[in-house]
Symmetry: C2
Subunit: 308 residues, 2 copies
């Protein structure tokens, strides 16, 4: 195999009470990436469409992980990468993780799966570092493993797949900019012990709810009293959207990644579509341009579109 084309999916990180540890892979939206083998030790990046992302490999979220990967391979081998971005950078839907993880998953196929999944996560984290200055894996892991993933620990890396029942995810991406740096700065370095205890009760409940397919328990556990109250201030109409969506039957939800996208989980597709209408109505009322998605959990992660 010399060339492979894959889907690199969007992800929801910071899953409500799972701040920094729990991520979820989405069926849509996704980037399309085509990676070809080169017989020279280098990486070439092509951004297709209207992209302003850098093409210098070491500055590109797909390029940096591939350079790391090449450092662990003998011989004259390299990668040519074409990226068609559908996941909007700055959406909070893991755009950089899709590029970083998609690149190494595709490249690893071309290398007959020389590297393990934890290796791929390790390489891909270099892409997150390029994008945000911080190596984090909570968007990377769900792209590589699929489904719902727990980052129990980042150093040393410990990824745990959490089985989940069928869930529909409704996402709204309001066209405002929330800089990751601002979203980080708004957080407090210290939290009240009583709030932390509440949060670890909820994350334990959420993991148990997912593994037991107990939708009520999932809903009760989707509560974040630490991060959301601070960050939601940056997102117009957050409380109104959340309240109305839950009243319409959504299990719960919150800020996707560091925002500005908001996601809601529903047991059924009909509810998820009703939730979409609520999101649209609320943002239309204030003339805020936005995109919405109704999608499901992607249990595969990256999938192959073609190879030759």
């Amino acid at each position: 195999m010399k060339k492979i084309k894959i889907k690199a999916p969007a992800t929801v990180a910071n899953l409500v009470c799972g701040f920094d540890i729990l991520g979820l892979c989405l069926s849509e939206p996704y980037d399309v990436m085509e990676v070809s083998l080169l017989d020279e030790k280098k990486v070439i990046i092509h951004n297709e469409g209207n992209s302003s992302l850098p093409t210098e490999p070491h500055l590109n979220t797909a390029g940096a992980p591939l350079l790391d990967m090449l450092n662990e391979i003998d011989g004259n081998i390299g990668f040519d990468v074409r990226i068609l971005k559908n996941i909007k950078p700055g959406s909070g839907l893991g755009s950089s993780a899709a590029s970083a993880a998609g690149a190494v998953v595709a490249a690893n196929h071309l290398l007959n799966n020389k590297f393990s999944k934890p290796d791929l996560v390790r390489f891909a984290m270099s892409g997150e570092k390029v994008a945000s200055g911080v190596k984090h894996a909570d968007n990377i892991a769900p792209v590589i493993y699929g489904g719902t993933t727990l980052i129990r620990c980042i150093f040393p890396l410990d990824i745990v797949q959490i089985p989940a029942p069928q869930l529909y995810i409704t996402v709204v991406h309001p066209q405002i900019e929330v800089r990751t740096a601002d979203a980080r700065q708004i957080l407090r370095k210290e939290v009240q012990l009583k709030d932390a205890i509440k949060q670890w009760g909820n994350i334990a409940g959420l993991v148990a709810g997912l593994m037991k397919s107990d939708y009520d328990l999932i809903g009760r556990s989707l509560e974040d009293t630490i991060i959301e109250p601070l960050r939601s201030i940056l997102i117009p109409e957050f409380s109104k959207i959340k309240k109305q969506c839950i009243e319409a039957g959504a299990l719960g939800g919150g800020i996707s990644g560091s925002g500005p996208s908001i996601f809601m989980l529903s047991k059924g597709e009909a509810t998820a579509k009703e939730v979409e209408k609520i999101m649209q109505r609320i943002y239309n009322a204030i003339s805020l341009h936005h995109y919405t998605y109704v999608t499901s959990i992607n249990t595969e992660g990256c999938t192959i579109l073609s190879q030759d």
Copy 2:
């Protein structure tokens, strides 16, 4: 049925990273409680053996919950309670919870299970309030439900049973006094966000590990970087015991409740017995009087010894 005799088991609360939320029911030690129906609205408490515990019902951990229960029953009915304590008060093994929960479980049998388990937890928490001034359910819930229980939320009460694989528990109870008030006072009111994130990664990993019967994951998740470093100072040789027990094959462990008992979890009984020897050797070396137990998870909670 006019009279019932039950076993009211010991429990481990504050299960490492599950501070204030996760508890475990033990097969041993246990109290024996005999409860008889009276035809008068009152509660009589008899402490058998060498007990210095109060017998005034409203000051007794078994009496206060029964008074609460009687408040919700019409008619002239009451309870006579005989308590044979084997779980030492102040051990950190849920002595007060065994009395409080055992009393209401036994009484509820005499009432043909008039009350639900959440009701029983609610009554029994009054006993914890008598014992420590605080209504908490992390020892109560495992006595009433058996097995491993998560208190996702205390107000409103939300108890989740967490399925667990077979585990052996080794407990050492050094004969020193750690006052619950001191153990509470040593805690900080605020914690670093980064430490809290580590803790919720671990509790998520522990719940997943228990539900997946993944012993390695259970072991990796048995880490508490928030409470244990502060409280373990009050327990002689804590670090030495923990280190040597893990080297001998234990999965991990920590302080039981607010101490001074230390517990370690093992996959196999042989390891659990080896762990017991280590605990005995270390405390014998400093001539510290102590009790040890090697036991398993009690999935039943209270069990009936006789009834008539």
